[in-house]
């Protein structure tokens, strides 16, 4: 194969036009690659991706799907390159040319046809609630925006219910959205389908506006980031862990149940931590629960590692040995913890998968902070989930 290339600046310009303006600033120092969690385990090289983008030369395809948008490199970049914007722009330009990988086609297709990435029927979006929880009306204070993943994914329905119960116990005036809402669109934006994102966004904004929504509570940090940074509107959005931390602080909810020295570690979801700057709230919640022995992993907070689920990663197949979630599980187990707590449905999905494939699902449990908290309020999670298996979803690619 010839090594000769001619820079194709039209392509480079197309990337810039698609929002990858920051591309120009990079001086190729390699800090990003050195920081990137994927570098040690895959051949993905973020610096090269940018370099290829700068020159518009072939080779981009090899790297463009590797990034899980964890934002570690962005925080470290000495040139202030918004690398995620560059990745998004590159994906946008190239997937426009039909280069979407097979594994993402179902994801995009479902979003386009059903407004959620899980191929679930749109009118069954609220089936998990079984009419037990109110639908948002104009006079309510909070809209609990349920992530598609917690609506359709059987594991995460638990999280949805736990969240709903907590909101109820707090005595707040709240409701879930009607089935008219869509996925927040964060992931599909990162996958590069800006047009579809725009559609999803407009639909949701429409819902917010017609229903006079002002305060939004989310369980998914991806929704949080989308509403706060990508919708271009000023809504009062907070992550449930922040709300719980506040409720504890105000004395409105007090965890009672003693976990008797349960060793728990916490994984910072990239979109809650680095993307949204929320590090303390979930820790405050865990530390408020009696009898929890909280331990930190070596890489935590700003330095936290990615689970691999962001930027479309949740829907992409990864080979064994190339999974960040596997590494993270091992790191968690090294602390001696028996519960790996987190606060993101994507992370939960990734870790649940890994703990099963690594065969450690008995040694370490994956739980959302909300779930732990609800238990500490004395609610039995299993009772809550009874009958959840009746739900009938088609949850695989169609």
């Amino acid at each position: 194969m010839s090594q000769t290339v001619i820079p194709y600046l039209e392509m480079s310009q197309a990337i810039v036009d698609a929002g990858g303006e920051a591309l120009k600033k990079c001086y190729q120092c390699g800090t990003c690659t050195g920081t990137c969690p994927w570098t040690p385990i895959t051949h993905f090289n973020i610096r090269k991706l940018i370099r290829f983008g700068q020159l518009g030369i072939d080779g981009i395809e090899e790297y463009m799907w590797g990034c899980s948008t964890c934002k570690f490199c962005v925080d470290r970049c000495p040139r202030g390159v918004e690398i995620i914007d560059v990745v998004t722009a590159i994906r946008n330009v190239y997937s426009g040319g039909g280069m979407l990988p097979q594994s993402l086609r179902a994801f995009v297709g479902s979003l386009s046809a059903r407004g959620n990435p899980w191929s679930g029927d749109q009118d069954k979006r609220n089936d998990w609630a079984k009419d037990k929880y109110p639908v948002y009306t104009k006079d309510m204070d909070y809209l609990f925006f349920t992530c598609c993943t917690v609506c359709y994914d059987p594991r995460n329905i638990k999280l949805a219910k736990a969240a709903a119960e907590v909101l109820n116990l707090a005595g707040l005036s709240w409701g879930i959205p009607s089935v008219d809402v869509n996925c927040c669109g964060e992931s599909v934006r990162k996958v590069g389908d800006l047009e579809l994102f725009e559609r999803l966004k407009q639909n949701n904004l429409n819902y917010f506006k017609t229903n006079n929504v002002d305060k939004i509570v989310v369980v998914s940090p991806h929704c949080l980031a989308a509403f706060k940074k990508e919708y271009g509107e000023d809504y009062d959005v907070m992550h449930l862990s922040q709300l719980i931390a506040r409720l504890i602080k105000e004395g409105k909810l007090t965890p009672k149940k003693d976990f008797g020295g349960l060793k728990v570690t916490y994984h910072d979801p990239c979109y809650l931590g680095r993307h949204s700057g929320v590090y303390d709230a979930p820790r405050d919640v865990l530390k408020a629960i009696p009898g929890i022995d909280f331990v930190e992993m070596g890489r935590n907070r700003e330095q936290s590692m990615c689970c691999g689920g962001g930027g479309g990663g949740l829907w992409m197949e990864k080979l064994k040995g190339e999974r960040l979630s596997d590494l993270r599980i091992e790191e968690a187990m090294a602390t001696g913890a028996t519960v790996l707590a987190t606060s993101c449905p994507y992370c939960i999905t990734m870790f649940e998968d890994s703990s099963r494939t690594l065969n450690v699902d008995e040694q370490i449990k994956i739980k959302d902070v909300t779930e732990l908290f609800l238990e500490s309020l004395g609610v039995n999670m299993d009772e809550l989930m009874a009958g959840a298996s009746d739900l009938n979803f088609t949850c695989k690619a169609d």
């Binding site: 001086y27 190729q28 120092c29 390699g30 800090t31 690659t33 050195g34 920081t35 570098t39 040690p40 090289n45 610096r47 090269k48 925080d75 470290r76 970049c77 000495p78 040139r79 202030g80 330095q303």
Partner: protein
């Protein structure tokens, strides 16, 4: 009634192409008070100038209007012309019909009519112009140099050698600065002490230099030519007049303080001289480390001092000196790299900052020049990480300019003093000085490994306890490197002294966002500041190496000399003044002036302006509700008249 002469320049075709210049001159001649109006090919040429001068005499002109290029271009030229013709130079008005008319339009109608309007405005304004005279003030012949590093030393010596008296103010108890900490200097590898200490000594011995160590400037009053600067002599607790530098005290002292000179790698005594060649070579007591000051008893030093020089009662004293100019050469600090947790400074003992390494090499340093780790072992592998905090939007955006070179120097010295493998992690190698590229080549040949990629992380080695792993991408191969090393050297960003903002406030200097002092002009006045009579030299302006620093110091000395060499100096004529009859004593002028020129005369109950401090911006005049302030050359009636003239046609 004034007699106005109007001179319209063609500027070749530059103006004449889009303005009908003869029509313009004809128009001017119809305006009231205009006695003569002419146009000419090049007004700035000698015949053009002679024409103006001739007409001034012939027509007894008392106001000159030149319609030509921008005043920023030739205002001074024409001022000279009228001055030579016996007219006050402030009676000339420039109408900018080139840059702001003929060059920005193709339409000769539009161009001509706009030129007429501008000219009319100038005539309105010219009628009201007043002759201004510059005033002269006495100049104090002495100079103060702030900072006793190589820049300050050099500037002080240069000035002192011209016969001027110099006050050299240094915050620490010795002069010498960072250069005294170095072992070798790049690219020649000559011994730093060998070239510096003779200069330090020369300062001490020079009859024209008053050395003020352990001193800080606390107040600056006055203005160029006449600064009154108050200097605080911090209490040394040792009477330096009595002390004979026997240093018996320092031997007996039980106190332990952190050695600043050794970058905190070792301890020093509480009564100490920073290093053996310190100037002056007389000790001071570190109050925070002294047993007597902490516990109330000890006084061992007092007992051993035969000169009875120890004085625990000593207080800070203040003195005021009068100088004509000031050179600020306050130097730099290295950035604290602890907050960059990925590099593990302060966490792993094997991670060093550049200045610490300088001390390791130095034979007078804590290891007597041997390169050993904190546990005493010799390192086997060493990584030098460039651009830590420099060239980094998250920290400091500037390039620190000397790190590439000293990192090469380090590599050389490591190779010389140890058998370790040495790796440079760099983004770009920058070696643009004389002999620098050659030095780079030499180091490459010394088998130092260069990895093009910024160090991303320093981690503990899982396999070999005590060692570290440096993680980075080698961008040339695109491979991820995990390099086991025993020693990591960080090359942190050079940043201004932590107290540079205080200095800036005292001397009214502007700084960039990091605190480096701003020069008046980046190219044409790199050593001057916006504050007249204050000059800057060395790293306090921006990172630079020793040769550049010394060159700047010499330059600043020459600049300062241009002020103090004269007995008198001319003041700006376009200053503001207060009409006391109108002043309503609201003191707005005093509140807003960035130069502190207005002050309140309690006795008369009105504001007054110290014209020596005034820069003529006119801010005071516009905040004066009573219009009592006259901003000379831009008075309210002059500006209003100009506006009226501009709006007439």
């Amino acid at each position: 009634m004034s007699r106005i002469g109007v001179f319209v320049c063609h500027c070749g075709l530059n103006i004449a192409k889009t303005i009908r210049v003869s029509e313009l001159a004809q128009f001017a001649s119809t305006l009231p008070d205009v006695v003569v109006a002419k146009d000419y090919k090049f007004m700035c040429s000698t015949p053009g100038q002679e024409m103006i001068a001739g007409d001034i005499k012939e027509h007894k002109l008392d106001r000159i209007i030149v319609a030509a290029c921008s005043p920023l271009m030739h205002e001074q030229t024409f001022r000279k012309v009228v001055e030579n013709a016996g007219l006050n130079k402030y009676l000339v008005t420039i109408v900018n019909i080139r840059e702001q008319v003929s060059w920005v339009t193709h339409d000769i109608e539009e161009g001509t009519s706009k030129a007429k309007a501008l000219l009319n405005g100038a005539v309105y304004r010219a009628r009201l112009l007043a002759p201004l005279t510059s005033r002269f003030i006495d100049v104090s012949p002495d100079v103060m140099v702030i900072g006793g590093g190589i820049a300050g030393i050099q500037a002080a010596l240069e000035l002192a050698n011209t016969g001027k008296k110099v006050y050299l103010v240094e915050k620490n108890s010795t002069i010498g600065g960072h250069m005294a900490q170095f072992d070798k200097t790049f690219p020649t590898l000559d011994c730093s002490a060998c070239i510096l200490t003779p200069k330090m000594d020369a300062v001490l011995q020079h009859k024209n230099i008053t050395l003020m160590t352990y001193c800080e400037v606390t107040e600056v009053k006055g203005y160029v030519g006449n600064f009154d600067i108050t200097v605080k002599q911090k209490a040394r607790y040792v009477d330096h007049d009595k002390c004979n530098a026997c240093l018996a005290c320092t031997e007996k002292c039980p106190g332990k303080g952190v050695s600043e000179w050794d970058e905190g790698l070792v301890k020093r005594k509480a009564i100490y001289i920073p290093f053996p060649q310190a100037v002056p070579q007389k000790p001071v007591i570190d109050r925070d480390a002294c047993t007597f000051f902490i516990k109330g008893k000890c006084r061992l030093c007092e007992k051993v001092c035969e000169q009875k020089a120890i004085d625990f009662e000593q207080q800070d004293t203040f003195s005021t000196v009068k100088v004509g100019a000031v050179i600020v050469a306050t130097g730099y600090d290295l950035m604290n790299t602890k907050p960059l947790v990925q590099y593990g400074y302060g966490k792993y003992p094997g991670v060093y900052s550049a200045l610490e390494v300088e001390r390791l090499f130095n034979s007078a340093g804590p290891t007597s020049g041997k390169v050993t780790l904190r546990d005493g072992k010799e390192p086997q592998a060493i990584a030098i990480l460039h651009c830590i905090g420099s060239r980094d939007k998250n920290n400091y955006e500037h390039c620190s300019r000397v790190c590439c070179m000293y990192s090469l120097k380090f590599a050389h010295l490591f190779k010389e003093k140890t058998s370790a493998d040495v790796y440079q992690f760099y983004i770009d190698m920058r070696a643009p000085g004389k002999g620098y590229e050659e030095f780079y080549n030499r180091i490459i040949e010394e088998d130092v490994k260069f990895i093009r990629g910024k160090g991303a992380r320093v981690a503990e080695s899982a396999d070999e306890p005590g060692r570290m792993i440096v993680e980075a991408e080698d961008t040339l191969t695109g491979k991820f490197i995990k390099l086991p090393v025993d020693m990591v050297v960080l090359s942190p960003a050079m940043i201004p002294r932590s107290d540079s903002k205080d200095i800036a406030r005292l001397f009214n200097l502007s700084t960039d966002k990091y605190g480096f002092f701003m020069e008046r002009h980046p190219k044409l006045a790199p050593l001057s500041t916006m504050s007249e009579g204050i000059f800057i030299a060395g790293v306090c302006q921006s990172p630079k190496d020793i040769p550049d620093t010394v060159a700047q110091a010499n330059g600043a000395a020459a600049e300062a000399l241009t002020i103090v060499v004269k007995d008198k100096m001319e003041l700006e004529a376009t200053t503001a003044m207060v009409n006391p009859a109108s002043c309503c004593a609201c003191q707005n002028c005093i509140r807003v002036c960035p130069y502190g020129a207005p002050f309140f005369n309690e006795q008369k109950g009105v504001s007054e302006i110290n014209e020596a401090l005034c820069k003529g911006c006119g801010l005071c005049a516009s905040v004066c509700p009573a219009s009592a302030i006259i901003a000379r050359h831009f008075t309210n009636d002059q500006v209003l008249a100009e506006i009226e003239g501009l709006m007439e046609f």
